[in-house]
């Protein structure tokens, strides 16, 4: 649940104040254990969590940790063609007049979710999918 909250908060408010930071030992140890093959690791932090941005298998990932070294979630940005096929087709069917302004996959310990922000001239719609098959509206905002 905390992971989902984090994902949605990240999505709604992309203007987080990140500070470059030397990470504490608990977080560093947890990260090294989880992502053995990580390369080009950069750490940032907010008041609430640490964020590592790194490459693994040539894919850029972000991992989020509490101060106690608990992994809150893993995020990566996606192209629309990288979505599961039913999410692609339903997005095209339901939001063909919109453009995509943000799209990412968010993985917690035991589940994967997808989040997309679509816009037209009048509104911004944020959708989420917990099952990889259907979208549900998370939020609508008029411009």
């Amino acid at each position: 649940m905390a992971g989902l909250v984090l994902a949605t908060v990240m999505f709604v408010n992309s203007a987080f104040a990140y500070k470059s930071e030397t990470v504490n030992e608990k977080v560093q140890t947890a990260f090294n254990r989880e992502f053995i093959q990580a390369k080009e690791v950069n750490w940032n932090r907010t008041d609430d969590y640490f964020k590592a941005v790194f490459k693994m298998n040539d894919i850029v990932l972000s991992a989020y940790y509490t101060e106690d070294g608990e992994l809150m979630g893993i995020m990566r940005n996606l192209l629309s063609t990288e979505l599961p096929i039913n999410l692609q087709t339903s997005l095209k069917k339901e939001y063909s007049e919109y453009w995509i302004s943000d799209l990412f996959e968010f993985a917690r310990q035991d589940a994967t979710g997808y989040f997309v922000k679509v816009e037209n001239a009048d509104q911004v719609v944020t959708l989420q999918s917990a099952d990889g098959f259907n979208w549900s509206v998370f939020r609508k905002v008029k411009k």
Binding site: E82, T89, A111, T112, D131
Partner: protein, 148 residues
């Protein structure tokens, strides 16, 4: 129960290259309408019947990828299948594969998308032989077939 049997039939069809397909040039209107409802933007589609279970398979291209969509003879949409590459796997599955089978060579990945969730069928070549693994969206891996 019927839905589970049909889902299993599709999974078997995906896993078995020897499964019986029969080309259908004119599926029923119910099936065609169900397809149009799900995939309104797709105009060019070819139809097959899978096995003897009355499952219709629509073959089409979407975003330059070959996709198969499955329907019952009553027009119920069961799900889709497509081949993907490793970078398209969800993070949790890619991570579990790296942990559990670091020396394996991935030969094939099918993304099987159903109403009750996503599943991935991954064919691996390991030093001990080939295997097919089913991966759930939460990263759980289950060996479904082994071949020496």
């Amino acid at each position: 129960m019927k839905k589970i049997i049909l889902s299993l039939a599709i999974a078997v069809a995906i896993l078995s290259s020897g499964f019986t397909y029969a080309a259908v040039t004119n599926p029923s209107l119910i099936v065609k309408e169900a397809f149009s409802k799900e995939f309104a933007q797709i105009k060019d589609v070819k139809w097959d019947v899978v096995g003897r279970d009355g499952i219709y398979q629509a073959n089409f291209t979407f975003n330059n990828e070959n996709v198969q969509a499955f329907f019952t003879e009553d027009g119920e949409f069961l799900g889709t299948n497509r081949q993907i590459s490793k970078p398209q796997l969800p993070i949790l599955i890619a991570r579990e594969l790296d942990k559990s089978y670091p020396a394996a060579d991935i030969r094939n990945i099918n993304e099987y998308s159903m109403k009750d969730g996503l599943a991935y069928y991954i064919t691996l070549m390991t030093p001990k032989g080939a295997m097919v693994i089913k991966a759930a969206g939460n990263g759980e891996l289950t060996v479904r077939q082994r071949t020496k």
